[in-house]
């Protein structure tokens, strides 16, 4: 496997771990501001990893990459506001 393949594999593993953490939090019935903030932060991280590595936007010139990052930031922040 080449370098790009290994990078994608690392991102896939990180996405799996963060998804399992999200599921575990839901299964345990965890809620509250701190848990919601943590889960939303993990959504941001997962989304940015998908955009940068899977979609291949990391080296892409502005504003194209930032439009996806901006979408994630706005949506996740406003969801946080609605849940607070």
């Amino acid at each position: 496997m080449d370098k790009a393949g290994y990078r994608a594999l690392r991102v896939w593993l990180a996405l799996v771990v963060l998804t399992l953490v999200t599921y575990a939090a839901g299964r345990a019935g965890l809620g509250g501001r701190l848990v919601i903030s943590g889960l939303l932060l993990s959504v941001l991280i997962k989304g940015q990893m998908i955009a940068d590595v899977f979609m291949g936007l990391k080296g892409v010139r502005s504003p194209w990459r930032w439009m996806v990052t901006g979408w994630l930031l706005v949506v996740v922040t406003l969801i946080g506001v609605a849940f607070s």
Binding site: G47, M55, A82
Partner: protein, 196 residues
């Protein structure tokens, strides 16, 4: 012909993988899903008890498994793009078939989930939570089906040898759409199934 002729220049300028037009579509789709997510979140803020109560009736395991299936399928698509960049067209096609199978697993699990809710008598008009749950997840479901069709066309073309290391815009275009479907689900799953 003019659009085809100007395409490489547009791609060169933006640096985006795949056809530039798919990115306009992707940004538009993200905008629509974003509005949908925020409508859910702010409507929930006015009906917290209702949303929390009926969220408990969802099959969280199905949602989590489908998340794992989609990110794995997305990984296969990344490998397909890597393969065609090395001029391995047949390998590219094989990775795409795996990605499509992943999409198929997602569809089967989602249909089982919809079917269970239907058997319980749940409809769009049952309550506000279910209205959002059914419409949001069905809207996303349709995108998965559309993505599977796109990937199937790309897989067939790759198998026929229509793509190469030098020209594989079609593979990157299909891949970009599939990753968008994955990206949207990454937000949808915690929002609808977990956060309360």
């Amino acid at each position: 012909m003019e659009a085809v002729a100007t395409h490489p220049a547009v791609q060169e300028k933006s640096g985006l993988p795949g056809d530039f037009a798919i990115w306009i579509f992707i940004y538009a789709e993200l905008l629509v899903f974003g509005v949908f997510f925020l409508a859910y979140a702010f409507t929930r803020a006015r009906h917290v008890e209702l949303f929390n109560t009926f969220q408990q009736t969802l099959n969280r395991e199905s949602g989590a498994i489908n998340t794992l299936v989609l990110i794995t399928s997305s990984y296969f698509v990344v490998m397909a793009v890597n393969a065609i960049r090395r001029n391995a067209a047949k390998r590219c096609s094989q990775w795409l078939v795996l990605a499509i199978l992943g999409g198929g697993v997602f569809v089967v699990i989602k249909l089982a989930e919809f079917s269970a809710k239907h058997a319980e008598g749940v409809t769009l008009s049952t309550n506000t939570f279910y209205m959002f749950y059914l419409s949001l997840t069905f809207f996303h479901f349709m995108h998965v089906l559309m993505g599977m069709v796109i990937l199937s066309v790309v897989a067939v073309k790759a198998h026929r040898g229509d793509y190469s290391a030098e020209e594989h815009t079609g593979v990157e275009t299909g891949a970009s759409y599939w990753h968008m479907v994955d990206l949207v689900w990454i937000v949808l799953f915690p929002l609808v199934y977990v956060l309360h």
